[in-house]
């Protein structure tokens, strides 16, 4: 900037302009400079409560991560519209963990050390939870709430799980399967942690109800040639195929079972992660009669769930639906329970909130209310058994009251 330039500017800075700016400044100060300058967005007087959401918005698990983020935003907006918590607004800080555990640790670190969030929600797969939990809970000294149905055995302090456990998915479901299918079970499974642990539990429930496990087999997740297994299932007259293979392998298994005439011959297909979203994996006729057991189905048709569905569909359309298998219901439950706990604790600090969360309960939710079982960091909730009928679910049984999680078993 040369001398002429400066001169020009000084000249152009007229008395009128000075007066204008001075009056604007005075006005700003008079109206409460702090709020105007530091918080232009809203009229909140207090600092926001920071809620970290770390989920898989990209990568193979994004079908679950996107609804999770959507639900979180919906609930947080709702809480804010009703005045926030403790007179403070909630601020949602969303991070994409990209279905990549290595990357996720950094993202969660950002939430914990830079944003200094008051609580972290997220993770879909167990491997993701395992990768990030230490960074949040032990190294980060922050509360962590994990929303997905999983294999159980998570006993880390300050880590609360709000999705169904094996006990919740088996205790009412397997007796129903024995009654409505038969006593001979076959367990084709994907070879990773969840199926192994779930099967171990399912086996005890099957056997204690007088059933029998004819076979238990593990395949790589992308396995697509099941003829030997299907043959064994057909020749040994299995009544129930209790499946824990997952996409992409699961589509081939169901197709081959269908072609062998398993369901037509009276066999019962069962799969506990199958929600409305999963119905699209296979043609409807191949999974006719498939039974699933989850904490919520659209078909439950409860007024509160319907309201949530309507609200969700209005905001986000139907591409990434609000279902149980994607952990969206667990996310809803987690956020509401946490909000109740914060209100009770009158604080957002980890220890008092965890203490209040330990016995928090909500009266309404998708599929009904639920409550934390004190001392377990797991949730007691209603469970529903549904059967696929021409591409839609029909509820065939509802648990008698909330089912206990049976976790965490370690003291």
């Amino acid at each position: 900037m040369d001398n002429n330039d400066i001169k020009q500017r000084l000249q152009s800075y007229s008395r009128r302009l000075f007066l204008q700016r001075a009056s604007l400044l005075t006005g700003m100060v008079a109206l409460g400079g702090g709020s105007y300058i530091y918080n232009p967005k809203g009229s909140w007087a207090a600092d926001p409560i920071k809620v970290g959401i770390a989920t898989d918005l990209t990568g193979p698990i994004s079908w679950g991560g996107i609804p999770n983020a959507n639900v979180a935003k919906m609930v947080i907006d709702d809480i804010n519209a009703k005045g926030g918590l403790l007179g403070r607004p909630l601020q949602m800080i969303l991070e994409d963990t990209a279905t990549n555990e290595q990357l996720a640790v950094t993202k969660v670190r950002k939430l914990v050390t830079q944003d200094k969030v008051d609580v972290v929600f997220g993770g879909i797969t167990s491997s993701m939870r395992n990768a990030i939990k230490d960074t949040i809970v032990n190294r980060g000294k922050t509360l962590y709430i994990y929303p997905q149905l999983y294999e159980g055995k998570e006993c880390t302090p300050f880590l609360f799980c709000t999705g169904p456990t094996p006990a919740q998915q088996c205790d009412t479901f397997i007796p129903w399967l024995i009654k409505n299918g038969g006593k001979k079970f076959y367990l084709p499974s994907a070879d990773y942690v969840w199926p192994h642990v779930l099967n171990a539990y399912a086996r005890t429930v099957i056997e204690s109800n007088g059933g029998e496990v004819v076979g238990e087999e593990y395949f790589p997740v992308d396995h697509n040639e099941y003829s030997a297994t299907v043959n064994k299932i057909m020749t040994s007259k299995v009544n129930v195929v209790f499946n824990t293979t997952i996409p992409p392998g699961v589509a081939a298994l169901f197709k081959q079972l269908y072609e062998a005439g398993f369901s037509k011959g009276g066999g019962r297909l069962a799969c506990v992660y199958y929600d409305e979203n999963a119905l699209n994996i296979t043609p409807a006729n191949e999974i006719e009669g498939l039974a699933s057991c989850l904490d919520y189905f659209k078909a439950v048709n409860d007024p509160y769930g319907n309201k949530l569905q309507a609200e969700y569909t209005k905001l986000y359309a139907t591409k990434n639906p609000f279902t149980a298998g994607s952990a969206a219901t667990g996310m809803y439950r987690g956020l509401r329970l946490w909000a109740v706990a914060v209100t009770e604790a009158k604080s957002v600090k980890r220890d008092p909130v965890a203490a209040a969360l330990d016995h928090a309960k909500i009266a309404d939710g998708p599929g009904g209310g639920c409550e934390m079982v004190p001392g377990t960091r797991h949730v007691k909730m209603n469970m529903y058994t549904a059967v696929a009928n021409s591409g839609k679910y029909e509820i065939v049984e509802k648990s008698k009251g909330p089912v206990l999680p049976g976790e965490c078993l370690k003291a």
């Binding site: 990209t58 990549n100 555990e101 290595q102 950094t106 032990n138 942690v193």
Partner: protein
């Protein structure tokens, strides 16, 4: 007229970059907040892994898509020692990690590189990629090492009764180790030995006709790179507090290749710069467009690798400097004595 100054004085840009980066790295923890210290520490650790790839590809022309294998195996070994035997001493775990990296790399080298017939580039690339893939699959299915879930909640490294918490302390540990490794590799690659490696990279057959045992050189360099990758794997596991099968697999292996190519292979400093920049880009892109950022990042990497094969460092450093000089500046010797004995 006075004698013209030697031209080499003019083209020393790499040392300048090195010194600048080191100076910045030394003061960084004072300037940055906690998160960025952790972020940079991770860049140093992954930068070390990228260095190991640069050693094999940038200097010896071995296309290794398996650096994550040595990284992950070392991480798993150290993690198992820490969780099953309660060994947390940094003086045990890091050497163990480095040795595991070395041994695994040596075993792979014996299978892939030191066979009866010299392998070609594609064979080595696919061989290392497959090994990395196979071991990842095995780790996913093996419950002793946690299967898919990996080994969570690792204890912190200790030095005596002192706990190495992540933050400035771990930062300087990683920086010192990275600097030492860097220095070692720099001396090695700029020595007469490095000249042989460069010869192998440029014209393998001619080097063979000179009488160099190319496969032995390659095997040695490959194992050494395994050692570096192992050390970085050990550090990584304890910095992140977790090991999982993703740390063994082709995804990380490929990521490292991209770090190196993006920054500029064959320069040592390039891959470290590449690691930092790729991670920074991916961080900021993921903040800007949360559901589509991997696409943008992928395109960016693709453009650089396609149109700037010498990487970002190629904008600053001439080809001549990239190739560099080897060993002591040679005295003027009669041409007849100029040829070297095989080292």
């Amino acid at each position: 007229m006075h004698q013209a100054p030697p031209r080499r004085e003019k083209r020393r840009i790499i040392p300048l970059i090195e010194v600048t980066l080191l100076a910045i790295a030394l003061v960084l923890p004072i300037l940055l907040d906690d998160f960025w210290v952790l972020f940079t520490t991770r860049v140093f650790i992954l930068g070390m892994l990228a260095l190991s790839f640069d050693l094999v590809w940038g200097y010896a022309g071995i296309m290794s898509f398996g650096q994550a294998l040595f990284f992950g195996m070392a991480g798993y070994s150290a993690a198992l020692l820490a969780t099953k035997w309660d060994i947390t001493s940094v003086f045990v775990l890091l050497p163990v990690a480095a040795i595991v990296g070395l041994v695994v790399a040596f075993v792979i080298a014996v299978i892939i590189i030191l066979g009866k017939r010299p392998p070609n580039l594609v064979f080595v690339a696919l061989g290392t990629l497959t090994s990395s893939y196979v071991v990842e699959r095995l780790a996913r299915g093996w419950s002793y090492v946690g299967g898919q879930n990996g080994i969570p909640s690792l204890p912190r490294l200790t030095a005596g009764s002192f706990e190495l918490t992540e933050g400035p302390l771990f930062y300087y540990l990683a920086l010192v180790l990275l600097a030492l490794v860097y220095l070692g590799l720099r001396v090695l690659t700029r020595s007469q030995f490095g000249l042989v490696l460069a010869g192998i990279r440029q014209q393998e057959h001619r080097m063979a006709f000179f009488g160099y045992k190319i496969q032995n050189y390659k095997g040695f360099v490959f194992s050494l790179a395994g050692l570096v990758a192992g050390l970085s794997g050990g550090l990584y596991a304890f910095h992140e507090g977790y090991v999982g099968p993703g740390q063994l697999g082709p995804v990380l292996s490929t990521q490292v290749v991209l770090y190196a190519l993006f920054g500029g292979a064959g320069t040592l400093v390039g891959p470290i710069v590449g690691t930092g920049l790729v991670d920074l880009f991916s961080y900021y892109l993921s903040q800007m467009w949360q559901t589509g950022w991997p696409i943008v990042l992928g395109l960016l990497l693709l453009i650089i690798v396609m149109f700037r094969p010498t990487g970002l460092i190629g904008f600053l450093v001439s080809d001549r400097e990239r190739v560099g000089s080897f060993g002591r500046p040679s005295k003027v010797v009669p041409i007849r004595k100029a040829s070297h004995e095989p080292a």
